[in-house]
């Protein structure tokens, strides 16, 4: 670059970042479902600290406008984000000391805005480094460690969402187990059925269109509709097949949700298996046949390994989709994080909603990031 230029994304985001300290940093409620009272940083830390924070934000914005090296930007932004979160936790503690025993403190709009902008800029700095799998793995590990340290340290223990968690620790762990069973169990079942099915219709072209059309049709049905309508046949099975009822199959609960998620999972797995094997270069397949490999050997030694990245991409799609859709299962009593979300909506308790949303998003993000890394490392290997 011949002349220094200001960073354009920072210029766009400077205004919201500068406005954030002026907006409410906290919401203070006399009890868990009352309307929040918006409080600024000054109410928790006093005017001088709040002024220093505003000045610090201004300095940060100037630095971001001028600094163009992504590595430096990442360090600066990570430090700023850490500082912001620590101040949130400390501020919540101060506010609670002065408030009634049942009072709750949640992050306010200004906090969310500042955190959002900082995360956006972090993502931007990281994207500009065009990172390979190794730096991405390192960042993921560092983020996980930071989150674990943050949650373990108790810095955020005074926030309302942490209070919601303490009230429901046992239910939360049960929900986590249910959510994992729903998302991963249905995926494994779909893999066991979808992979062979995909290989079969890859070889029998006439079956392709009908099978893929049917699976697309299923994917198109809205989630509640499918979940709900599966109640009817499963209730019938439970009523007429004693063994099934003993195995825990009932009209509502885990069973219809698992079946629905299994059905939703089939399309990506089957379609990507077909696409992955289709994409094996004909010359490679021909060479494999030419050197006398049997059909099974060709599948195991050539076609499946070459199709693996595409099939893994399907696994990523399915798992992220399942983790999200499993929340809907709460409406038919399947358990999982959705329970908190819909309870929270019912009670207009934002922090209870967050108790369901945050782990769902974290789980989906983690799964997606790990699978992305696995896929990228497969693609990096020499063929």
């Amino acid at each position: 670059m011949p002349r220094p230029r200001i960073d354009r994304l920072s210029a766009v985001l400077a205004l919201p970042l500068l406005a954030a300290p002026a907006l409410s940093a906290f919401g203070l409620r006399p009890n868990r479902i009352a309307q929040p009272q918006a409080l600024g940083w000054a109410e928790a830390f006093g005017a001088p600290t709040a002024a220093a924070l505003a000045a610090g934000t201004l300095l940060l914005v100037v630095a971001l406008l001028l600094l163009r090296r992504p590595g430096l930007r990442m360090l600066l932004l990570a430090a700023a984000l850490a500082g912001l979160i620590l101040m949130l936790g400390r501020g919540a503690a101060i506010l609670l000391e002065q408030a009634a025993p049942a009072a709750r403190v949640s992050p306010g709009l200004g906090f969310w805005l500042a955190a959002g902008v900082l995360v956006l800029l972090l993502v931007d700095a990281f994207a500009r480094m065009q990172p390979g799998p190794a730096p991405r793995a390192a960042l993921l590990a560092a983020t996980l460690a930071a989150v674990a340290a943050l949650l373990g340290s108790g810095v955020l223990a005074d926030l309302s969402v942490a209070a919601e968690f303490r009230l429901r620790a046992a239910a939360f762990h049960k929900a986590t187990a249910d959510h994992l069973v729903l998302a991963f169990g249905s995926f494994l079942a779909a893999l066991a059925v979808g992979l062979p099915a995909g290989l079969a219709i890859q070889r029998h072209r006439a079956l392709r269109a009908p099978v893929l059309n049917l699976l697309t049709l299923i994917q198109t049905i809205p989630s509640i509709a499918l979940f709900g309508m599966l109640i009817v046949p499963l209730a019938w099975i439970a009523a007429h097949v004693p063994a099934a009822a003993e195995a825990g199959i009932r009209g509502i609960g885990m069973a219809p949700a698992l079946v629905a998620l299994f059905l939703y999972s089939l399309l990506p797995i089957v379609a990507n298996t077909v696409a992955g094997v289709d994409a094996v270069p004909p010359a490679v397949a021909e060479a494999a046949a030419g050197m006398g490999m049997t059909g099974a050997q060709r599948l195991r030694m050539v076609e499946l390994p070459l199709a693996l990245p595409v099939i893994l991409a399907a696994a990523r799609i399915v798992l992220v989709q399942n983790i999200g859709l499993a929340t809907v299962g709460a409406l038919i009593g399947s358990g999982g994080y959705g329970t908190f979300i819909f309870q929270g909506i019912g009670q207009t308790a934002t922090d209870l909603i967050l108790l369901g949303v945050l782990p769902t998003v974290a789980l989906a993000f983690l799964t997606s990031a790990v699978l992305d890394l696995v896929i990228a490392s497969f693609r990096m290997q020499p063929p």
């Binding site: 994207a127 500009r128 198109t220 509640i224 499918l226 999200g324 809907v328 819909f342 909506i345 993000f365």
Partner: protein, 249 residues
């Protein structure tokens, strides 16, 4: 086969919306003894209209903004935002629609507004991603030719890039609309008027007849909308075929 599918879908949807009483004999066995068989707290036609309106209200701005963003990051002036935009889109996909819906409630209260906001936000990503893929997928030789014949950047966009990206853009809108139809159903848990009301009513009052009515109707509408987009995509993808249809008609 295709014709049969259209007839079944349109017939089922139309009958369920306009003459729900026709289904009473079929649904009777599923209803609790003595309980109502046909949902009567609101007309299915009204709920369907409201459901579709929610989706429209969200999808029109969603499409416009997502397209504008995709166009921006594929212009030279916006190229530096491309990696960031792609990474953000990738991260955004991990947010479940329900999460977006649930978090809209504290911001906007109950009813139509949080639902529309959630549908709008969640609709952006598939349209953006597909538009991006479409615009970036225009062959280099075609872009070079467009410049070489003396098109302005604007002419290139309107006359060459957008028409060539159109099938993928429509594909993105289709994905978003199908998700929106599904999320609008869940919107009834935050008191938006949609067909989800029928299903939720069935679930809470233990009346499978309601669940089936609502479920079949939303399913039919979703598949119908999906198929309509399929026709549009086909038309956009095969200019030759549509030109022939037009000249014949």
């Amino acid at each position: 086969m295709t014709a049969l599918r259209w007839i079944v879908l349109v017939g089922m949807t139309g009958a369920l919306v306009l003459f729900p009483a026709l289904f009473e004999p079929v649904l009777r066995p599923f209803a609790p003894a003595g309980g109502p068989v046909i949902y009567d707290r609101a007309t299915l036609a009204g709920l369907t209209a409201s459901h579709l309106m929610l989706v429209m209200l969200a999808m029109v701005p969603s499409t416009l903004i997502a397209l504008a963003l995709a166009i921006l990051v594929t212009r030279p002036a916006g190229a530096e935002f491309l990696p960031t935009a792609r990474m953000l889109a990738n991260i955004g996909q991990t947010f479940p629609p329900v999460a977006v819906l649930a978090l809209s409630v504290p911001l906007l209260g109950f009813g139509t507004r949080p639902t529309v906001l959630a549908l709008f936000l969640y609709g952006l990503l598939p349209i953006f991603e597909n538009a991006l893929a479409g615009l970036r997928g225009v062959p280099g030789s075609v872009l070079l030719s467009a410049r070489a014949v003396g098109m302005t950047p604007r002419q290139m966009l309107v006359q060459v890039e957008m028409p060539l990206a159109l099938p993928l853009i429509l594909e993105g809108i289709r994905i978003s609309v199908v998700i929106a139809l599904s999320t609008a159903t869940i919107g009834s848990t935050v008191a938006a008027r949609s067909l989800g009301e029928v299903i939720i009513a069935g679930l809470t009052s233990n009346n499978p007849a309601f669940v089936i009515q609502g479920g079949v109707l939303t399913g039919c509408i979703a598949v119908l909308v999906y198929d309509v987009f399929g026709l549009l995509i086909l038309a956009a993808r095969r200019p030759a075929a549509t030109a022939r249809i037009r000249s014949r008609g």
